[in-house]
């Protein structure tokens, strides 16, 4: 409520400042806005189909939602194809469609598609309300699409809430399970709290700049003398996002939420939702805080080092595979934050490193969750020990999971290696003391992390099945597709050393 109140005042102020202006309908670039519009339209259509058809169409809602994601992908590809004519700037610079945004839109749509694939059997077999679940996923992905292009405080905030509010509901989806209720409630309370802090920070920034657009804020902050309220505004904004990306010490909600939520949703939270938080954070830092490295960097350094170390150390002690992945995801967020601790003078490279990490992380982590969901269909358990003997009862799945685990551990030739490589590259650039120190912290951490990833590999490869049941597993086609997509991306990015073309990031070059 506090959050909404603040939002209202923010909007009111903006409107007040513009009362003397005549209303002009902003020019809308329909092509550039098409992915979002398609998703909105399709989402509404799916809802209507669900309302009219009720139980008769229940089975169709999931596939329909998946098709919606693929449809929205079409304008993303055609926009990408435009090359020179990108970036498109909408709404006075509050909304920008450039290749950076398009790449991430593609990642979010594909992640959403994979999550729908994952959810299919889980929802149908668990006897949950499934139609609404898919519609909420679509809503959340819509928020992510908006987030990639948002260059304005209000747009960013709306995108963030659009991502989060459906997720609060979905986390509590298994409503007869106390743990799921706990997951939803905890996630919502922490999320709202974080939003309030974020809004407070944003309002201070607005106070300093008298503008909500990030670039304008960036210019004002660069010109302004340092003042306590600017510092507070910057820090509160970062802390707000730190909750969303579950950085230590703002991570406490993540493990409980991940464990209690339905596993496909956990995959969604750990990958897409976290990535959306990162996108917002990158946008704000790149466009608004670009000239304040001396203020932001030390804070990010501590946040990053603490996140990777604490996440890894706690992950070491987990015996539930979802909790282990949750803590490992926290640690991975630490690596992703690391470039922001040294971004001064190499803003573009830092942004690159994080984006590459996000893309590869999405593939490998979704893949790992897919395997967890498939395995749980047989073992009915979330223990790491339930993976024992998997080489016997699911050799193909074992290979896939091994690829994901080694990728997460950062071993070449998997994609995860390059994700870490680019982070290390940014950190060691110029051989600055703090960057190099953080690189060493990250190096030690990746060895610690290898231990618990290998622990899962050990169960699968080295030990006999816990209950001696070696009967082969049956994998539904949708889940096979999900694993196939993620394996291909993980391996391809790894073998080719994929890097989005530097030139594809004109927004970066143009950043102040």
């Amino acid at each position: 409520m506090l959050a909404l109140g603040l939002l209202q005042s923010l909007i009111a102020q903006t409107l007040l400042a513009q009362t003397d202006l005549e209303f002009v309908r902003p020019h809308i670039d329909w092509h550039a806005f098409a992915p979002e519009l398609i998703l909105v339209g399709w989402g509404a259509l799916v809802t209507i189909v669900d309302l009219v058809g009720l139980d008769r169409v229940r089975r169709l809602i999931g596939p329909l939602t998946g098709i919606g994601f693929l449809l929205a992908m079409v304008p993303v590809l055609t926009l990408w194809d435009l090359g020179e004519e990108i970036p498109r700037i909408l709404f006075d610079g509050a909304y920008v469609v450039d290749n950076y945004a398009l790449l991430l839109k593609g990642v979010f749509l594909l992640s959403g598609y994979v999550v729908v694939l994952l959810a299919g059997n889980y929802m149908a077999e668990g006897d949950y309300y499934d139609s609404e679940f898919y519609q909420l996923i679509a809503a959340s992905v819509l928020g992510m699409l908006v987030m990639t292009s948002a260059r304005d405080l209000v747009t960013i905030f709306i995108a963030l809430e659009l991502v989060s509010i459906p997720a609060y509901m979905m986390a509590a989806w298994r409503k007869r399970d106390l743990k799921s209720n706990e997951a939803g409630l905890k996630y919502m309370l922490m999320g709202v709290f974080a939003s309030a802090i974020l809004l407070y920070g944003m309002s201070l920034l607005y106070g300093a700049a008298a503008d909500t657009r990030l670039t304008a804020i960036g210019e004002s902050l660069a010109a302004a003398d340092s003042a306590p309220f600017i510092t507070l505004g910057v820090l509160f904004t970062i802390i707000g996002f730190a909750f969303k990306v579950s950085a230590v010490p703002f991570h406490t909600w993540a493990p409980d939420t991940y464990e209690g939520a339905p596993t496909p949703l956990t995959a969604f939270l750990a990958v897409a939702s976290k990535a959306a938080g990162f996108v917002g954070l990158i946008s704000i830092i790149v466009f608004a805080f670009g000239d304040l490295p001396e203020l932001v960097e030390p804070f990010m350094w501590i946040l990053s080092a603490a996140t990777m170390t604490v996440g890894n150390l706690i992950a070491l002690r987990q015996d539930n595979v979802v909790r282990m992945l949750a803590y490992s995801g926290i640690a991975q967020a630490g690596y992703m934050l690391a470039p922001l601790a040294v971004y001064g003078g190499q803003l573009a490279e830092a942004q690159q490193a994080i984006v590459i990490y996000l893309v590869i992380y999405a593939a490998m982590n979704l893949g790992a969750f897919a395997v967890v969901i498939i395995a749980a269909r047989k073992t009915r358990s979330g223990d790491i020990e339930s993976f024992s003997g998997m080489l016997r009862w699911a050799p193909g799945l074992t290979t896939a999971m091994t690829i994901f685990l080694f990728s997460l551990a950062g071993i070449p030739p998997m994609g995860g290696f390059w994700a870490k490589f680019w982070v290390f590259k940014v950190l060691t650039d110029g051989w600055e003391l703090w960057g190099t120190l953080l690189a060493l912290v990250a190096a030690v951490n990746s060895v610690i992390a290898a231990f618990y990833y290998l622990n899962v590999a050990k169960q699968m490869w080295f030990l006999p099945a816990r209950d001696g049941d070696n009967s082969p597993i049956i994998i539904p086609p949708a889940l096979t597709a999900a694993v196939a997509i993620t394996v291909i991306v993980t391996l391809l990015t790894g073998v080719t050393g994929w890097v989005p073309d530097w030139a594809d990031f004109p927004a970066v070059a143009a950043a102040p």
């Binding site: 070449p412 490589f421 060691t428 190099t436 050990k458 050393g497 890097v499």
Partner: protein, 525 residues
């Protein structure tokens, strides 16, 4: 043909095993014979291409990279798919090409428990590609990728097909190596930044580092060398980091131990001579006395460790620590003489210790134990006399008997320590030399002791007329004879390797020689 070899030869050689592995993935697990066939064919294809490359190699210009390919790979950082073969990598490539097919042949009727020939051989082929790739890479990023690729199959090989304590051994092996690699990677990246050359090419980096204007200071080089030292030194392994080795070796299946001893350990020493020394010469000078110290500690410690072992395989594993100590001592002298000896030592150790692990595996298979005090009388006519003789020859080679390959690895390395490169403290290295010489006596002690207790005398009661005890079988002969022949031939004609390695090694040696004379001139002026 020439064209093919020049542009595609090395690539085909490196990736032929991987193609085989992919083919095997598509074949169902129950067709075991087919899997063995495919694996053998894949490694044989690689071997044949390798032989063609070896025969087309211009031995007159072994100091230059031949069959070199340089294609763009990751443009943004200018990491390239740059491969090539020169006299320094040639012997090691040849060793790898030879050992893997032999190991696959040995596997024909020795697939270790719990079976699954498919997975086992696929891992073996992936390992093969990783090892060959490491030896041909000329780009640091490419090198690193191959260097790490080797980790995975070996981890699984130890963990799935290993002995009692395999879980502990496999994770220890993995984490130790990964720890070193992480620091090595930081060093590589720092090189990239500090030289400002925007390249990962080894040769270009070496030129940039010594550039008088934009080059690296001695202290920077020393620091970066430290990172590489961790990466390569753990792989070798050098003394304080060696503890993963006895566990890994002892627990690994025979095939794993053979590959580990024959090739994997060489990745570390090769890294020193290929990357660390040429690129960071001043760092090498600063570290050389310490490397020498750790090397001789390793020699003595490994030998003493051997004398304390009760398990045959563990004893051989500790002997590896000692032998790699000689290799590192040769490298630490920073002279072309010493580095030549080191490369010979790598090949010799690969053949000899690989052979010893083969024998240990076959002994284990027959006697179901490797406890030295339970074994005995291998040479007895009812036991396995031929295998006993093979063990005797190999042990002699291992202790450095002249006329066998082991001698040329150890003796010149010790000799080189008498006269290290001019910048190094001669007294210190002469002390190392004496200690290393004492090490050879200890080596004779533990190997002869091993031979005496396992091969001589009467077999212990439990193994008289034991049904499993029999002499060498066909696949063992096929796998072992080439290695034995090479051990003898290289013992008599060491020039086979020295002639090839001398030219590229003297390029490195000259760098250090010029550096010390340059320093002398500088101080004189």
């Amino acid at each position: 043909m020439e064209d093919f070899l020049n542009s595609w030869g090395l690539t085909a050689m490196v990736f032929a095993p991987l193609v085989g592995a992919v083919v095997m993935m598509l074949i169902p697990e129950r067709d075991e014979e087919l899997h063995k066939m495919v694996a053998l064919v894949a490694s044989a294809v690689s071997f044949v291409i390798g032989i063609l490359l070896l025969t087309n190699f211009d031995y007159g210009a072994s100091g230059t990279m031949q069959f070199a390919v340089d294609r763009s790979w990751i443009d943004v950082i200018n990491a390239r798919y740059a491969i090539g073969m020169d006299g320094m990598s040639l012997p090691l490539i040849a060793l790898t090409l030879l050992v893997t097919p032999l190991v696959i042949i040995y596997s024909w009727n020795h697939i270790p428990k719990p079976g699954n020939a498919k997975a086992f051989l696929i891992l073996m082929l992936v390992l093969h590609t990783g090892m060959l790739g490491t030896f041909v890479a000329r780009d640091l990023v490419l090198f690193f990728v191959f260097f790490e690729v080797v980790l995975l199959p070996m981890y699984f090989m130890i963990g799935v097909w290993g002995g009692e304590d395999r879980l502990y051994a496999s994770i220890k092996f993995f984490l130790y190596t990964l720890f070193g690699s992480a620091f090595m990677l930081v060093s590589f990246l720092a090189l990239y930044w500090l030289t400002g050359s925007a390249t990962f090419n080894m040769v270009e980096l070496a030129e940039r580092v010594v550039d008088p204007v934009e080059g690296l200071s001695a202290s920077q080089q020393t620091l970066l060398f430290g990172g590489m030292f961790l990466g390569f030194g753990i792989k070798v392994p050098m003394f304080p980091f060696h503890t993963w080795l006895p566990d890994a070796h002892t627990q690994a299946p025979t095939q794993g131990s053979v590959i580990l001893a024959a090739v994997l350990l060489k990745l570390g020493t090769y890294g020193f001579v290929r990357i660390a020394l040429p690129i960071l010469p001043e760092g090498a000078v600063a570290w050389a006395p310490w490397i020498g110290l750790l090397a001789v500690i390793g020699i003595i410690y490994g030998a003493l460790g051997c004398l304390a072992q009760t398990d045959m395989k563990r004893l051989i594993a500790f002997s590896s620590v000692a032998h790699m100590g000689y290799v590192m001592l040769g490298i630490a002298t920073l002279t072309s003489f010493g580095i030549n000896a080191a490369i010979f030592g790598m090949v010799a150790h690969g053949l000899i210790t690989g052979m010893l692990f083969f024998i240990a595996g076959s002994v284990k298979e027959r006697y179901h134990t490797l406890e030295i005090k339970r074994l005995g009388g291998l040479l007895h006519k009812d036991q396995a006399p031929r295998m006993g003789w093979i063990l005797a020859i190999t042990s002699m080679a291992s202790l450095g008997l002249p006329g066998l390959a082991g001698f040329w690895g150890e003796f010149p390395a010790i000799l080189a320590a008498y006269n290290p490169n001019a910048g190094l403290n001669t007294t210190v290295f002469r002390i190392y030399m004496v200690v290393a010489a004492i090490g050879t006596v200890l080596a004779a002690a533990y190997l002869l002791w091993l031979l005496q207790r396992t091969a001589f005398g009467e077999p212990s009661e439990e193994f008289v007329d034991h049904p499993d005890v029999h002499d060498t079988v066909f696949t063992e002969w096929v796998a072992w004879v080439p290695m034995l022949i090479l051990i003898v031939v290289l013992g008599f004609v060491p020039g086979l390797i020295f002639d090839v390695t001398n030219e590229p090694v003297s390029i490195i040696g000259d760098v250090f020689k010029n550096m010390s004379s340059g320093a002398a001139l500088g101080s004189g002026g």
